[in-house]
């Protein structure tokens, strides 16, 4: 679906390359996440994949075509939702969707049905300027799938959303995947990436440091232990135990019987911790 070989890119006038030789491929129907701190090159990579920057070096093929050579018909097949929803503020939701719908020659969804699916049917005749951030993000997503794209590019899809809206957005993305779309997400929200992505790529300083599935990473790099915090007289103490065979661990059972337990947690690692371990960088 997407195949990238030795991708390099330098902005005009910049002293150094923003991308320094990326190699990756994305399979059809996959949700693939680019993770990295601001300025790492993930947005530049996305801009190249959506055909906005064409002066790159290396090979970039999407849907079987070299991006450098694609014309405007490429946009019939891909959908893009930028981080900040850009709409005609004075137009209503439905007016905006109808306008963008008319830009496509191919088959499109009925905007009303899509709005209903996204819980925005009541807002159809509201002006976009009156919508909340969460509604605008859903509308943004709605527009990106209007023309039934095969590949969907989402930039920070859960950015600034409250937990409820964030959950709705994740479900919508998973639904597109189940319909067969390939989804590429750019984010620095590790939790969202962990929940959504089949595979993630860590980008730092224009390099990909690692590509793998979040689950495999956590299994491989996590610690299978339980940490017990307990009170011994007035002192707070902590001890770690291997999860395997914990039911027969005498010391563990003795702690439970003998001391008041304050907390007890498994020590599985998070994607964020793996990112810090692998790249030596934080995401902020």
């Amino acid at each position: 679906m997407i195949m990238v070989k030795n991708l390099q890119f330098k902005y005009p006038g910049a002293a150094e390359r923003t991308l320094r030789g990326l190699d990756f491929s994305i399979r059809p129907g996959e949700i693939f996440g680019f993770l990295g701190p601001s300025g790492a090159g993930k947005s530049t990579t996305q801009k190249i994949l959506i055909g906005s920057l064409k002066q790159y070096e290396g090979e970039v093929q999407v849907l079987g075509k070299e991006i450098r050579t694609v014309g405007s018909d490429y946009y019939e097949r891909i959908g893009v939702a930028f981080e900040f929803p850009n709409f005609y503020q004075k137009f209503t939701v439905i007016e905006n969707l109808r306008l963008f719908q008319s830009l496509y020659a191919g088959p499109t969804e009925d905007p009303r049905i899509l709005l209903a699916k996204l819980g925005l049917e009541d807002a159809a005749h509201q002006k976009v300027s009156q919508l909340s951030k969460g509604m605008k993000m859903r509308l943004n997503f709605c527009r990106s799938i209007l023309h039934r794209p095969e590949v969907l590019f989402l930039d920070e899809p859960t950015s600034g959303l409250d937990p409820v809206n964030s959950k709705i957005m994740k479900e919508l993305i998973l639904e597109k995947k189940s319909e067969g779309a390939t989804v590429i997400i750019t984010t620095h929200n590790m939790q969202a990436a962990e929940e959504l992505c089949d595979r993630v790529a860590f980008i730092v300083d224009g390099h990909i440091k690692l590509i793998d599935s979040p689950r495999d990473l956590k299994l491989r790099l996590g610690v299978r232990q339980i940490r017990v915090e307990y009170r011994d007289n007035q002192e707070l103490k902590a001890e770690d135990f291997a999860i395997d065979g914990i039911g027969g661990n005498e010391r563990f059972l003795q702690l439970l019987r003998q001391y008041p337990i304050e907390t007890m947690h498994s020590r599985e690692t998070t994607l964020e911790q793996i990112f810090i371990d692998v790249t030596g960088r934080t995401l902020t």
Binding site: I50, G51, S52, S72, D73, Y75, E76, I78, V80, F82, F84, N86, F87, Y88, Q89, K90, F91, E95, R98, L99, F100, S102, L103, Y104, A105
Partner: protein, 241 residues
């Protein structure tokens, strides 16, 4: 065509809700009516009460009003582009089948087309213009001035408020026809840097029967307009990216 029709419908919707934008269409039509009905009345009154022959200045009045025509759709398009840039719409259009090129084509050709229609209507209906072959030159230069003004606003204004202020400053463009008509040689040439000077000269020399001079003003004016248009387009692109 479906794409452009959608954009046009969007523009009509904006026009209907924004009196300022509406005036860019109604304005030129008003000019035609004012010239057609108002000029003779004013002329009669000035002759009777002040013994002043306004008819002697009829060609000045014609060219003065003609150069207003591209200003209105030009600034309308410029203000819409500023809005669209503020809202990052240009970036989004860039990832639809319209593409950035399609967007620019629409935003720059629409004011040209409106200027063409409205200036031809003005020449045919205002009653104060001379019907002469040289009018073709004048119309072509006016048609180029509309996108020049649109790009001028977007190239030098950071937002719509600044754009409005700049569109008021475009009143300076009246220097073109005033200088072409009233200022004698060689001082008149000081105004060659004002775009409106060229269509004014082309029209006025045409009326004076200097066909060759009219062609000269047109050809050099055309080069000047095309260069200006290209330069402004590049400044605009730099500010949009």
């Amino acid at each position: 065509m479906k794409k452009y029709r959608a954009l046009l419908l969007g523009d009509i919707r904006q026009l209907l809700t924004d009196p300022m934008l509406m005036s860019s269409l109604v304005g030129p039509l008003m000019l035609i009516i004012i010239a057609r009905l108002g000029f003779p009345i004013l002329s009669d009154w000035l002759v009777q009460d002040y013994d002043f022959l306004l008819d002697e200045y009829i060609s000045f009045a014609a060219v003065f009003l003609l150069i207003v025509i591209p200003m209105l759709p030009g600034s309308m398009s410029g203000l819409l582009m500023l809005d669209e840039r503020d809202e990052n719409m240009v970036t989004y259009f860039g990832v639809t089948p319209l593409a950035r090129a399609g967007y620019f084509r629409y935003r720059l050709l629409l004011p040209s087309l409106l200027t063409f229609l409205l200036s031809v209507l003005f020449i045919l209906l205002s009653g104060i213009t001379e019907i002469q072959p040289e009018n073709i030159y004048t119309v072509i230069l006016l048609v180029l001035e509309a996108p020049i003004l649109a790009l001028f606003l977007t190239a030098f204004a950071a937002n719509k408020v600044e754009g409005l202020a700049l569109s008021k400053a475009s009143g300076l463009l009246f220097v073109g026809p005033v200088t072409a008509y009233f200022v004698p040689e060689p001082w008149t040439y000081l105004a060659v840097w004002v775009p409106t000077y060229w269509p004014a000269q082309s029209y006025l020399t045409g009326i004076a029967g200097h066909s060759l001079a009219s062609v000269g003003w047109f050809v050099i004016g055309l080069v000047f307009h095309v260069v200006l248009l290209t330069k402004l387009f590049h400044v605009f692109l730099r500010r949009t990216d």
